[in-house]
Subunit: 355 residues, 3 copies
């Protein structure tokens, strides 16, 4: 049977060369995690099951000690030059859960980039001292460029893209899928559900990646709710059309709430404003979720948010059981643990663990 | 017999509701360390004995390996948004001694607070990925507010207050008490001693907390030596009166030195100046300790300082055996190890250790 | 037979007192690593062999687990107030390889130096909580001053100088020697080779330290290639003359390339400019190495660079097998592991390891 590594490898090879950015070494046994498109339905299912398995093992002290003895001989570099709390800390915690030792570079003012070093040389330096590089950058395509660079050296190490520019944030969409899998566990899974995206859909890379991953599921309907200036991009619409997915674009949030199986709220991403303050001029007050909206939400629907949040969701909503965004956040730690365990070849040990 | 956890729990419940800020879960088995007032004499004695025990175990390699195998399955977040060296590093070292894995957030410029996230959401995020939060903030009452917040979620984790605003710094006063316990070990303990506080008593939270904790001891006399503008607050005076403690307020340092059992020096805390430079205008030259003052100090007295120091103590005094402030600093690591071991329920393992 | 520790101890004691800066405790069993001059040929050879041993052990998971179980009971402070990537990360990785737990202080804005604390008090604080201090500073002589300070306290801990001002960077020269040892392994070692230094020789402390260490070898010829303003200092020339070493000073790089056994390229160190921009006015275009220069390099010669690089070496050269600077970088991790293992007395365990 195919392992998760095999599936990732195959999917990666199906990508057109210009999207691939990096080739495989060692007969495909080494790979980078760069795009959401590398994951198909089978690998998403397997990754989710693995995450759940790790989550249950971690509940006992004995289980935690087992997990931490899996990869103490590995070292990971967290290279995060873009501000981040959740992605950073959940990768950090995932590494700790698996016993991986961590180094980090977050602040360029203490590094040699100050002395005129290129990012290529910086990343190659990390690969000299670490076994895995997890990187986040405000520069689109940087993770791919570095994966390509490393694959052409004597010491390639896997790169995990933890967010690059506005284009991709694959592990965020993996945790979103995992949260949907768990939320619809008793309702037949993600197939056939109506997923509603709300907020800054033009610039939120989490929505873009998740919309793509959802095309792996049957009969999922996607609804994009935003003011016109912040609507989902033409490229995603064309991708959905090509995939034969039913989707709608609207600015009428109230009309959509009662039909939704899942509502995915997002923040206005004003750090990407071309002109300072341009998104502050857009009226986004009708794209928020409070106690009033909660009244119209179905009893078995769920509310997600990738965080950080501002005023899109009233904290008064937090205690409602349909608000799953805090669980979603913690899911990030489990799915990232599963992903790293898979990259580092300790999946069998986890399946074989008996508490 | 009551354990340290039981005592802390009981003491906490005796506080008036408005001072408590957080309630206990799981029948009192989970708690936060927020105020010096949570500790009574019995818990101070037990904590000191536990710290000494850990200190002796740590002397051998075998002992260190034993300690580090106590809590490798736990992860602690050190959330320090206020500059700190000693408190941070001694908590850091205490976690390492017990095998706890550490994450840290110190610089908000790399976190999502930049993107408009509330501190409540930040702390709740930490609780998603970590088992213990140790926090220091320049905002008074913040640790309590966060303890209250977490106690009302599905995933409460203990909070240790590592300094909040000008009001409280409970673990500093624990290490001060531990240093006094050790210093007076052969002189019948802290009871009956004369303790002299010198310097910026108005704004030094370490003095405020220690003055309160000393009310747990019999016949301790407290003397507050400062220029009038920096004298100890009215609230502390009222507290001492209510507790029936003998205390004096003076600006004549020289007169007090020969009678002191312990002198607790402090730095001018000009970071709290309302108007820049206001404390620089106060003449503090007669509130310093040098070789001249050392001549008048009793042979069995001790000199403490919470550090950092400026010119309050001449480094030439450091080599005198009565200068115990470097030992006091290292005591911080041991008492914090004891506190965390107690919170994480591994006290019995430590008592039962046989080298 | 003398151990590496014995040799380091002896060499250190041969230094004139004013160069020593710190004395030994415990019959010489404790020491600091402050100067390249502490190492003689025997200790360089032994250190290199130990590094190679560690490197081979680390190739297997079993070996890595063995190494990481050597020093889990030790804690190291990395006190780096000068920007650094490679030195910091390779020390960091070396500590992780040996299982040492790490604390770090890099940014003074989160430390108590903000509150007016002296560097002496800061370093003494680190010694209270850690077992080893690895420090890098832009201040010349600081590591020696701190070693002296600690050696006069009740809790001396070893200090490793990871770069101080313009004067010394001993572990960099150790990794350079190790790289030369490996490069000339099949050519009879370093003896009799011609080593060419190129670039900013006036201010590059790596060149200064390496030039001194090379005097331990027989018949090594040293060539210094630089524009006149950036030539090697008078002090190094006098040192080489006194040691009877053949050396040349020139600005004609092209003439030297075909005769070189090793070319050591360096970057213009403009962070030391007295007047901003002064080194930018120097024409350094003929002190770069590209594909054209590669044509003239001997087949068995090697090209080194301490990194970071700017334009001194064209990245197109990287794939040539004679470009050993990426291996040199990784050697830093191995030689530092060997040095720390030696300081912490676990060398015998490493020699006795059988995979």
């Amino acid at each position: 049977m195919k392992t998760l590594r095999d599936v990732l490898f195959d999917e990666f090879h199906k990508l057109p060369v210009q999207e691939k950015g990096a080739y495989m070494k060692d007969g495909g046994r080494l790979f980078h995690v760069l795009y959401a498109q590398q994951f198909n339905r089978a690998s998403l299912d397997e990754l989710g099951t693995l995450a759940t398995n790790i989550r249950f093992i971690a509940k006992s002290e004995k289980g935690m000690r087992f997990l931490q003895d899996l990869l103490p001989h590995k070292r990971a570099m967290l290279y995060f030059t873009q501000p981040s709390t959740r992605t950073f800390l959940s990768f950090f915690a995932a590494c700790q859960i698996l016993g991986i030792r961590i180094g980090e570079v977050r602040d360029r003012s203490v590094s040699s980039e100050l002395k005129g070093e290129s990012q290529e040389d910086s990343v190659r330096t990390f690969s000299s001292y670490f076994d895995l590089i997890i990187m986040r950058s405000e520069i689109g395509g940087l993770a791919e460029r570095m994966a390509w660079l490393l694959s052409n050296t004597d010491r390639p190490v896997p790169i995990i893209n933890a967010g690059s520019g506005k284009d991709q944030h694959p592990t965020q969409s993996l945790l979103d899928i995992y949260t949907l899998q768990r939320s619809f566990e008793k309702r037949g899974g993600i197939d056939g559900k109506k997923i509603v995206f709300v907020g800054d859909l033009a610039r939120g890379r989490t929505v873009r990646s998740l919309a793509q991953l959802l095309t792996n599921y049957q009969d999922v309907e996607q609804v994009f709710v935003a003011p016109p200036e912040l609507q989902i991009g033409e490229d995603i619409r064309l991708m959905l059309e090509a995939a034969g997915v039913t989707f709608h674009v609207t600015s009428d949030f109230a009309a959509v709430i009662p039909e939704a199986d899942a509502i995915y709220m997002t923040r206005i991403q004003d750090e990407w404003d071309q002109v300072k303050g341009e998104s502050a001029r857009i009226n986004t007050s009708s794209f928020c979720f409070g106690l009033e909206q909660l009244k119209h939400l179905r009893g078995d629907a769920v509310l997600l948010h990738p965080f950080p949040r501002r005023n899109e969701i009233d904290p008064a909503v937090d205690r409602d059981p349909r608000a799953v965004y805090w669980r979603q956040m913690r899911n990030g730690m489990w799915i990232r643990s599963a992903l790293i365990a898979s990259l580092c070849n300790v999946v069998d040990e986890i399946w074989n663990y008996s508490g």
